[in-house]
């Protein structure tokens, strides 16, 4: 396989590439689900192919093929060169790459139990046990469970001499209970929406999630929501669980710090960013307690954004994004780093698969936990009147990432430091920097979770990427609550 990647690279250089890189990958995916006591689907897929990226005359071309033959990879390399030459006809500025030492290495993500070695029967047995627990609760009208596993084995070679081989294995699992009644549909998910929790781990993740133990409680909450009052509309204190805070980070920090958005590359689709270059190191993004990093290193945790090298061959690193509330860094590619005068990329170029161009993508964008020991109960104890919200239900933000609105599956009215009563259809909205500046407490390390968001969309053609977001429960003051149902 590697010899075909080398051949594609050699062909691209021979045909005139100033710079070229090649990613040749073998991918495997397995997923299965249950629905109301029956199999939803059982599916397995594999895909292999090569993608060639070439720079000619300061312009890019990219071509990918699954024809892994000498002729096939030569054809892809030649096509990438031809496309780059066509690009050069309409060039805004020549692409220049920030320098990067060529690195070699072999890396395999930690995976204690190979998920592809686990029998389907055993996994289905667990999902059916969860399904039975969910449907044992009167009022549950739809029970869904699922697991999925990915493995990507990739070679990356560049004309600068990079030679890297990486294998990443990720796993995910979760369930949801729906309840239809009284002219409304309520839903509870565990451990998160978006199919549950997803991490760069093997089957050991499934054991850690304690799916069966949590099923009954979650199903009962879905049904109980019908009896709950509607979330009130007011401006006040909001407490978020860590999974919802993870998505809040994703949307209102992770996307606006993408330097390609800032520089206009995504203007037609994903949009721009309010974080124009003049704001770097000159914007109070959040309160003093807001410390956010982009960290692709395994030391940060087994996140969907953890790797050894990005898809430009840059080693995984940790960058400060927000330090004590001050905005201090973007996530970059080699080209965009050079464009703003940074000496190096911080290694955030990632491609969905061999057939897609790497783009600037989130790695693990995480808020650091509070340094002072603080539990969720203590967080709530300091709230005279407010709302606690848990598990995302809807999410929306404008194309410059200022105005957002989130809905959650479950809410609790907090009164005098305690959860007083459940409320349904909770939502909140705000302006990004105002929101992060209103954070006045965040729980400590033992309550911090590295969540996986498996479905982040970006690019044309659109690519889906898994990203990681570490977060702990946090408290925000003066937040607009209940806005989604405003009439």
């Amino acid at each position: 396989m590697k010899s075909l990647a080398q051949r594609a690279l050699d062909t691209a250089v021979q045909q005139g590439a100033e710079y070229a890189d090649v990613r040749l990958a073998e991918e495997r995916h397995r997923s299965f689900t249950t629905k109301n006591g029956r199999i939803g689907h059982v599916a397995d897929s594999e895909s292999h192919g090569v993608g060639v990226r070439a720079l000619v005359g300061g312009s890019w071309g990219f071509a990918a093929t699954d024809a892994l033959t000498p002729e096939g990879v030569d054809g892809a390399a030649a096509e990438a060169i031809a496309i780059a030459r066509a690009s050069a006809r309409v060039q805004a500025r020549p692409a220049v790459l920030a320098p990067e030492p060529a690195r070699s290495g072999v890396w395999v993500s930690p995976c204690q139990i190979d998920p592809f070695s686990i029998s389907l029967e055993a996994s289905l047995e667990l999902l059916f046990a969860v399904d039975r627990e969910l449907r044992a609760v009167d009022g549950v009208t739809l029970a869904e469970t699922g697991m999925e596993f990915h493995r990507t084995h990739q070679w990356f070679l560049s004309s600068e001499g990079a030679d890297q081989e990486q294998t990443r294995t990720s796993s995910g699992a979760g369930f949801a209970a729906y309840s239809f009644g009284e002219n409304e549909i309520q839903k509870r998910s565990y451990p998160n929406s978006f199919g549950g929790q997803h991490q760069l781990k093997g089957y050991e993740l499934i054991h850690e999630l304690r799916l069966e133990e949590n099923a009954r409680r979650v199903a009962e909450e879905a049904v109980a929501l019908h009896q709950a009052e509607q979330c009130p509309q007011f401006t006040g204190t909001l407490v978020l669980d860590s999974s919802q805070l993870g998505l809040q980070i994703h949307e209102s920090i992770g996307h606006p710090i993408e330097l390609d958005r800032v520089l206009g590359s995504e203007a037609n689709f994903a949009g721009g960013s309010f974080l124009s270059l003049d704001k770097l190191r000159h914007l109070r993004y959040g309160s003093e307690l807001v410390n956010v990093v982009a960290d692709a290193r395994l030391e940060h945790g087994p996140g969907l954004g953890s790797f050894a090298f990005d898809d430009e061959g840059v080693p995984a690193s940790c960058s400060d994004i927000v330090r004590q509330g001050e905005f201090c860094g973007y996530i970059m590619s080699r080209e965009t780093a050079a464009q703003i005068g940074e000496p190096r990329s911080n290694g955030c170029m990632r491609a969905e698969s061999w057939n897609r161009l790497p783009l600037i993508r989130m790695t693990n964008i995480s808020i650091l936990p509070g340094e002072r020991g603080l539990s969720p109960d203590e967080l709530i104890a300091d709230v005279a009147e407010g709302i606690y919200m848990e598990t995302n239900r809807s999410w929306s933000i404008d194309d410059k990432r200022y105005n957002f609105q989130f809905g959650c599956e479950l809410g609790w009215v907090i009164r005098n430091g305690r959860k007083a009563r459940m409320v349904k259809n909770p939502s909140y909205s705000g302006i990004t920097t105002e929101f992060w500046n209103s954070l006045d407490a965040i729980c400590s390390r033992e309550h911090w979770t590295l969540w996986g968001t498996p479905n982040c969309g970006k690019g044309q053609p659109q690519q889906t990427m898994g990203t990681g977001h570490g977060a702990a429960p946090a408290r925000f003051r003066n937040i607009k609550i209940g806005s989604a149902y405003a009439r």
Binding site: V42, T141, F269, Q460
Partner: protein
Amino acid sequence: MPVNRETMASAPRTPAMRRDAMAPLLRPEFAHQLLELALSVAHADETELTLQAGSSALTRFANNGIHQNVAETQTTVSIRSVVEGRMARVSTNRLDPASIAETVARAEELARLQAPEPDLLPMPDPQQYPQVARAFASAMLTPEERAEKTEAMIAVARREKLTAAGVVANHRTAQALINSRGLEAYYEETGAEYSVTMQGSDSSGWAKASSTDGARLDFAGGAETAARKARLSAAPIELPPGRYTVILEPAAVLDLLGFLFWDFGGLAILDQRSFLTGRLGTRLFGENIHIHDDVLHPLQSGAPFDGEGMPRQRLKLVEGGVIRSLAYARQTAERMRREHPEIPAAPTGHGFPLPNEYGEAPLNIMMEGGEQTLEELIAGVERGILVTRLWYIREVDAYEKLLTGMTRDGTFLIEKGQLARGLRNFRFNQSMIELLNQVEALGIPTRASGEESFDMVVPPLRAGGFNFTEVTRF
């Protein structure tokens, strides 16, 4: 039976972006060879093979220059095996005989490890399909031709002192679906698309279009539309949130409507996850709302058969605001007849490939309109808001179909029948049931493209009391 390697290598991987490459992308004999190979090693009761081959290319520009430019070619085989009432699907893009045999073996192994599925029907017998010709040489753009069209759009931006970003894209795909009961279905399609955003210092405009026939696309015309919107919306003012009369352009209508049709499948009703649960046959929308599904309409795209090979039928979904019918896969129709005999149900050819959790959905939506142009609709508004497109739409409430999202790239105040000036963008929280009861006028339907939904044929419309709840900073 061994596969002819020469046929395999040449048939699906024919370079697709040349004008002389209009011989069929997938030859039936190639699909037959693969199925015969699969059957020669199969031990399943039934086997289905889906073959998808294609090439696509996309030129992307921003800041008035091409910055990304990509192409790909791929052929995928997918095997569905049924063993004693249990099934699994395994896919690969390795087409050599050993890999096909391994794929078949893995599908059968995964099927055997399950409990039998009581509702599983035998695979369908051979079907008849209408002829549809949707492969056009006009969609076969070379990299140079995509660059030329990009150049023309950027020339508009330079003339207007604006900054352009967008895409020029094209694809050619072919699909074969055959099963061990003798069903054979083939489909080939081309497509071309542009999307363009023009940005000024404090404003923007947007246009997008797609067609199976590249000759129908007016690339420079789209750029002119986007530039005009950017120019007219410069120096936007802020209006307070509230309920306003709106004109929704077709792209905005499309992206909202797209959230409805996943609920128009029989399985969504059986699962009680559809907003139509308990509302079938009732008048849910205004009497002026008529929606059907028609894959054969000349402005539509997509195969005339579903994921099992059943022919897609024309469906009358909404008539005079009344929910008239649903889409059904074979298995869903059977279950609906058994569990709810009062609901008429028959297979409509809208099923997704099996196995799946979601059953079926109509995906060739046609919303009927009126005779008025967009300009005539605007002329009829004393005070209101014109919405070019919507963005980041998400469902807030599943049963009320309450959606939230933002306006984007061309939001205008209308006064006395004319565009008065640009507006800062709004967030909306709007029930679709309420919206479709407040439609006051409909324009001429057109094939529309957005970013939140599949393409549809929809009109622009005027509606009263649209619920804008917040304003953003631009």
